[in-house]
């Protein structure tokens, strides 16, 4: 069953220079117990999409249209009080930088208890018991003593565990993790990812993993959407995306991954900059940086089309099936040749 269904979501921010089209017509869904990876570079609209889902974009500065359904319940346009009930209970969210995401003047215990006390009518003692329990679940040693500590007494990885604990304390149905491992070092990253995997099995929740790290996606996600310029440009099962990506931007992303066994030459990069969301390019958002750009790309936005591989795999590109297959084989061969060298 679908835990979260987003249809044609559009978020625009009003600025003095005009409307910033941060998210344009994004649709996707997350099934119960599954993990959706959301990939894209900075400014691709991936974070804003989920801040909109959470109702955390300022309504005075933004315009939101489309539909966000949580187990069938429409959330866009829901009252502020209903949204507050949903946040923290049905949807938990973890943010990118654990160093700044916890209030520095309150104890860890207080901040965890707050999440319980806002939503449940329980005693402070019971809330404290829940706080310690959930800290144990995220593997904080000496949890019953460490609840008294302040955030600055924790390391980055420990703070991210606390953030996860805080998001999980009310048993949410969906966990949205916005680049949860970006600010952590590699060994800590792996621990946090293992932890999230284990907790997903325990809590049976759907996870949305927002990241720019394809490695994280490969490891954790079941499905993946690639975002570019505020749009979904490719969506598929994870295995399909790595085996047969259908879009030049995804090729670029996969090509720019550092590989351990390569000869130490320069990393591939996608030339140019992400598009301005204030004045997005006409046609395909990727056209100014695409090496296979055609005239039609500069005039018309490609629809999300179904790939030859199957119904689940959709992409936006004007190139025909044959050309895409040919280019991707060539790219793959080049990468393999480089690996072998």
């Amino acid at each position: 069953m679908q835990a979260l269904e987003v249809t044609d979501l559009t978020t625009r921010f009003r600025t003095d220079d005009g409307a910033v089209k941060a998210v344009s017509g994004v649709s996707f869904s997350v099934d119960e117990g599954r993990t959706l990876g959301v990939v894209g570079e900075s400014g691709s609209g991936k974070s804003v999409t989920f801040l909109t889902v959470m109702g955390l974009v300022d309504p005075r500065q933004s315009e939101v249209t489309g539909s966000v359904k949580l187990h069938g319940e429409e959330m866009l346009g829901a009252s502020q009080s209903r949204m507050r009930e949903i946040r923290g209970v049905k949807i938990g969210m973890i943010f990118q930088d654990p160093m700044t995401s916890l209030n520095p003047v309150k104890t860890i215990g207080w901040q965890l208890e707050e999440a319980v006390l806002i939503h449940q009518d329980v005693s402070k003692k019971e809330a404290r018991r829940r706080a310690v329990e959930v800290l144990k679940q995220v593997e904080i040693p000496n949890a019953d003593r460490r609840v008294e500590d302040y955030p600055h007494q924790f390391s980055g990885g420990m703070r991210q565990r606390v953030m996860i604990a805080m998001a999980l304390i009310n048993n949410p149905e969906i966990l949205i993790a916005d680049e949860p491992t970006t600010a952590l070092d590699v060994t800590t990253q792996a621990q946090i990812l293992r932890l999230m995997e284990r907790l997903q099995e325990e809590f049976r929740m759907a996870i949305v993993m927002i990241t720019h790290d394809l490695g994280v996606v490969a490891e954790l996600a079941d499905d993946v959407i690639v975002m570019y310029g505020g749009r979904v440009v490719e969506q598929s099962k994870v295995s399909d995306l790595f085996a047969k990506p259908e879009m030049p931007y995804t090729w670029g992303l996969l090509g720019s991954l550092p590989r351990l066994n390569s000869s130490g030459g320069r990393l591939e990069q996608i030339p140019g900059q992400p598009p301005s969301l204030l004045h997005p390019p006409v046609g395909c958002p990727f056209n100014p940086r695409c090496e296979f750009v055609m005239n039609v790309c500069r005039e018309q936005l490609p629809e999300l089309e179904t790939a030859p591989i199957g119904e689940d795999h959709r992409y936006r590109c004007h190139l025909d099936d044959e050309s895409r297959a040919r280019i991707w084989s060539a790219k793959q061969a080049a990468m393999m040749a480089e690996d072998a060298a």
């Binding site: 959470m54 955390l56 507050r84 009930e85 949903i86 946040r87 923290g88 209970v89 938990g92 969210m93 943010f95 930088d97 700044t100 995401s101 916890l102 209030n103 520095p104 003047v105 309150k106 104890t107 707050e114 999440a115 806002i118 939503h119 302040y150 600055h152 953030m163 805080m166 998001a167």
Partner: protein, 190 residues
């Protein structure tokens, strides 16, 4: 913001004279100037008692306050706005905290930290401001005394007042530093 702009720009002497003229002389709501003793029945005093005391001090208080109120409104406003955009405020919202809860529990205390620091440094400014206020309203006080001493070239008196003010500033700053420790766990000695 008009209040802030006027409060910061207008000199206390000007504010004091205008208030004394309009409220005291024209409207007869308060005394124009002068002082009353706090303790009732003070020997040799023209008038005394807490009510009379406060009645005579209303205008000096307002004069003295306007500059600081304006400075601090601006400071608190800037700090609150800055704190509002902190990541942990977003975390609190993501937990489902209401707007008032976010403001009171998460924004207020964090935005008070810089304000308290400035408070300690501003005591010197306050003593300076007192010189103007006391002169305008003819109040017997440290500021008034230092002007008198200056006019009579009374060096020991000036030295005494300066030393006393210095001690006040140092003690007050110490108090502020201790308060800071209460407000912010990060600088508490462990």
């Amino acid at each position: 913001m008009t209040f802030v702009l006027v409060g910061i720009s207008a000199h206390p002497v000007w504010i004091g004279l205008i208030l004394s003229y309009v409220v005291g002389f024209r409207l007869h709501l308060t005394p124009i100037a002068g002082y009353c003793n706090f303790f009732p029945g003070t020997v040799g005093a023209q008038c005394s008692g807490p009510v009379n005391w406060a009645y005579h001090l209303i205008l000096p208080w307002i004069t003295f306050m306007i500059l600081f109120a304006a400075l601090y409104v601006r400071l608190v406003r800037a700090n609150v706005m800055e704190t509002m955009s902190e990541d942990y405020v977003r975390t609190a919202r993501a937990k489902g905290a209401s707007q008032s809860r976010v403001m009171v529990q998460h924004v207020l205390r964090n935005s008070m930290l810089p304000v308290v620091t400035i408070l300690g440094m501003d005591l010197g400014l306050a003593l300076g401001g007192a010189i103007f206020t006391e002169s305008i309203f003819n109040l017997p006080g440290l500021g008034h005394e230092v002007i008198n001493a200056y006019n009579f070239n009374d060096l020991p008196m000036i030295t005494g007042i300066v030393v006393f003010s210095t001690i006040c500033v140092i003690v007050f700053n110490f108090v502020v530093d201790v308060t800071y420790g209460f407000l912010d766990p990060r600088i508490r000695p462990t």
